[in-house]
Symmetry: C2
Subunit: 178 residues, 2 copies
Amino acid sequence: MTTSPGQTDQQSFHAVRDDFVRSWGALGTAWGINRTMAMIHALLMVSPEPLCTDEVMEALQISRGNANTNLRELVSWGLIHPEVKPGERKDYFVAEKDAWRIFCIVTRERKRRETEPALRVLNDCAARSEAFGTKEAETFHRQMAELAEFVELTNSIMERVARSERSQIVPRLLPLLK
Amino acid sequence: MTTSPGQTDQQSFHAVRDDFVRSWGALGTAWGINRTMAMIHALLMVSPEPLCTDEVMEALQISRGNANTNLRELVSWGLIHPEVKPGERKDYFVAEKDAWRIFCIVTRERKRRETEPALRVLNDCAARSEAFGTKEAETFHRQMAELAEFVELTNSIMERVARSERSQIVPRLLPLLK
DNA sequence: CACATGTTTCAGTATTTACTGAAAGTACAT
DNA sequence: ATGTACTTTCAGTAAATACTGAAACATGTG
């Protein structure tokens, strides 16, 4: 018995899609996002239909607790959102699929989790080292202040970019590429 | 017996510096950099003198193996570099202290570890889903291609920015802030 | 209310990641 | 070639992080 070409195609197409989900999970790790969260995101991005918790559990072979935690985390990021199907009680989840919007969300989240805490530390250390009068303290203070200023700048740029419409920002970035 | 003002100042200044090292370590975690690596980087950034492995071990209370691994990792990133003191055999380490250069190094490393692998995944999935002919595959292919194109753009921008002189790029970024 | 459906929590466990410290390795000096 | 100063490796262990699954909770419905 031979497999029909159609079936083969179907099978290998799904293999590609599964590979994407798996690879995105692995990438997640490098991005400081846990594997499961990244895989669920990938799964929903490429799913033509919204999926419920049980479908996600089934597709990724994960527990209910794990699915629930990561679905909620993705909702809190804004990368997916719950939808109710008429006549059904359970939530179905849909992913944001537009590259620019995903980029904005991730940028905003990174700003919140990475650059803002760094800025607080730097400003705090700069303030606390201001008035000692020793040369050592003065050097340290300058260093903190310089770093803070710089982080502040990147912070503002991230904020501004992530707030913009793609059509407004991308054309203004392109000249940077010379 | 009372503590002299000078001694108090000295003590609390060092407390600030130690806080910076600890906090930078904690931040490192959020940035996907291990705590020790971030702490060593912070320690060397605020150290007026180059430090050798034993001094780093002593200051952070860590083992030789740990110190060695993370010092080498920092050297490989380019965030610190070894120096030899005349007449001594051991390496002393100095941190890059300029905010812009640190930013460039981190950007380049993130590109290498985060966006480039993502691009490979996306291009690979796009290529492999090109020729199936089904509507499902076509949708998936478009999605991969769109994401790849976008990641490629951010990739190029990161590359370009990280290669530039601060004086060349910052003035061109400022207008983005409106 | 009793029941069904769906969601959340969390103690226990598994997996991953980081660290220790002693031993092996390297390389220069005498 | 032996000793000394320093660096690297790595097996074993510790710590951090993520996951499971069953029980508690919430929210309808008849």
